[in-house]
Amino acid sequence: MAKLCIEGVSKAFGEKQVLSDINLTAESGEFVALLGPSGCGKTTLLNTISGILRSDAGRVLVDGRDIGGLPVEKRNIGMVFQNYALFDHMSVGQNLAYGLKIRRESREEIRKKVSEALEMVRLPGTEKRRISSLSGGEQQRVALARAIILRPDILLLDEPLSALDKNIREQMQFEIKRIQKETGITTVFVTHDQGEALAMADKIAIMRGGEIVEEGKPQDIYVRPESYFAASFLGTNNLIRGTYDAAGRRMAAGELFLPLERRDFQDGQEVAAAIKEEYVHITKPGNGLSGVLTEKLFLGQLVRMKVSVAGHELKAVAMEKEARELLVGETVGVELEHIQAFAVQ
């Protein structure tokens, strides 16, 4: 249990600025996800916390103590690597006991802790198994157990689920979340998968080009993003550009007029809007805007559609039974909500 503060951390590789002036706080016991496209600097940030990389500027504080000068092995930080990095020349038990032996704990103590940790990741009694005999999901659990067995101040997870099959990945999301809550270890999780971040994190920090664009609770950042990047990055979006019409309190994009909640724009100012596909509701003609259904894709539980409205093609998604009656080529009504508008820089 420790609070993590990152203050003004910068890092450059040669000419390339990878991190610029990063500020981030993870409260004690909080689960923070660093979310961003590849190359945004999220793994570099993780490595400056662990000490694998030294930052050029800024401080990393754990409970107010600057750990920037300490070598990796003295930082008391647990890490799960993307490829797990298990010691494949040792058994499961030896992997878990590794750090405990370095701390010179007694044999009895080690045996007890190893068995408890395996219990926690739901792999009891596997001490003697060889790493190569484990499945991907099991290796993931062992890697997690090895990282938390030392009760680190901070736990770092570097895309830990990216190598797993879809089904196991979803199962492991729950598992990691459960274990994180049970142990109460402050956790920083790096991912490029927004579903993972939204499902698991208490707080998401969205990164782009070495900067944190926006941070907040998953619900807030998804429904009410404060930046165009966050709005367009999360979910599947309809992106529309137009100009603000102050008199009508709306934005005009060709023939399409969208009423806006935000009104702090100048008349005629260029505005970019993002509407998530699930906020485009397709109904009977006569409701809202008038459009023509152009495509319908059956996905089982869901139906994905495209609708042409005033010269714009909008993506929409609905439950299968709600969209059953709608036919391609028909005129339909289109209702829009949660239109997120931002000034174009």
């Binding site: 070598p71 092995e73 010691f87 020349h89 040792m90």
Partner: protein
């Protein structure tokens, strides 16, 4: 019926593939049989023959002669010590070099550094030895340099065992570096980082990850260095002075100078047996050490 047909078809194809793999094994296997197994058998037979034409019948005389004067025992002991010392020297020098090469230098520098290590292989062994002799001799570059610090420039370690040790070390270091390099390069960087996050300092990272994971490379390096160094005779003859003789020189002189094929063969067989035994012991010890580090 259909099943039966299928089975016979399978049997046929299996027969063909058996023939094919035999055909593919033939060049390699034949070469081993002709160039390794056959000479070895001849050598063993010759060591038990009374005369050089393989016609004198079975005798133990060759072996009795070898042990009669004690020259072999003392030279063998000296050679094994030299072999062990050079091998140890190579291991100690090669580990940091191989580690740096595999993990610390940039991709671009690595290529040219490896070429530098391989360059000696393009030169004849004799040339390497003479170049070292020139370097080490009295009034030579090394002694002239040391003279600046007050050493006698005409003195030299040349024609001592120390010179032989240095020359052998110089000759065989590249083998050890390359063997260790290829083993260490295969170690996943994240495993070293993981060890570090779990609290392992430099020493612990070496003993628990680098050493056990580079063991196969280390063992082949030891084999490539220890066996030829122990059997070397050119280096001691050229740079070892009057008392520099090693067991290789003894074997060589029996074949090349004394034309005593039987005694030479007996010496060779003994040398082979002793070296195999020592190598097996080293192998076992290292494997035990590699595992012992990881016991719960």
């Amino acid at each position: 019926m259909k099943n039966l047909e299928n089975q016979t078809k399978q049997a046929h194809s299996r027969g063909r593939s058996g023939l094919a793999s035999f055909g593919l094994l033939l060049p390699g296997g034949g070469m081993l049989a002709l160039l390794v197994a056959a000479p070895l058998i001849l050598l063993i037979v010759a060591s038990f023959c009374a005369n050089d034409s393989f016609s004198g019948g079975f005798t133990l005389a060759n072996y009795q002669q070898v042990f009669a004067d004690g020259v072999f025992t003392s030279l063998m002991g000296k050679s094994v010590l030299m072999g062990l010392a050079v091998t140890l020297g190579c291991v100690l020098l090669a580990y940091p070099v191989a580690y740096g090469l595999a993990k610390l230098v940039s991709e671009r520098a690595r290529g040219s550094l490896i070429v530098l290590i391989i360059i000696p292989f393009f030169t004849s062994q004799l040339l390497l030895i003479y170049s070292m002799i020139v370097l080490l001799q009295g009034q030579g570059p090394l002694m002239s340099l040391l003279a600046l610090f007050g050493a006698d420039p005409s003195a030299s370690i040349l024609y001592t065992d120390a010179a032989v040790f240095l020359i052998l070390l110089y000759e065989f270091l590249p083998y050890m570096v390359l063997c260790l390099y290829s083993a260490i390069a295969k170690i996943d960087d994240n495993q070293l980082r993981a060890a570090q996050t779990l609290g392992a300092g430099r020493v612990k990272r070496f003993t628990s990850v680098i050493f056990p994971k580079s063991l196969p490379g280390l063992l082949s390096g030891i084999l490539l260095v220890f066996v030829p160094v122990t059997g070397s005779f050119v280096e001691p003859d050229l740079a070892g002075g009057s008392s520099g003789m090693m067991v290789g020189s003894l074997i060589n002189s029996n074949f090349a100078a004394a034309y005593n094929l039987g005694r030479g063969a007996a010496l060779s067989v003994l040398f082979l047996v002793i070296l195999t035994a020592i190598t097996l012991v080293i192998n076992g010890l290292l494997r035990w050490a590699g595992r012992g580090r990881q016991r719960l």
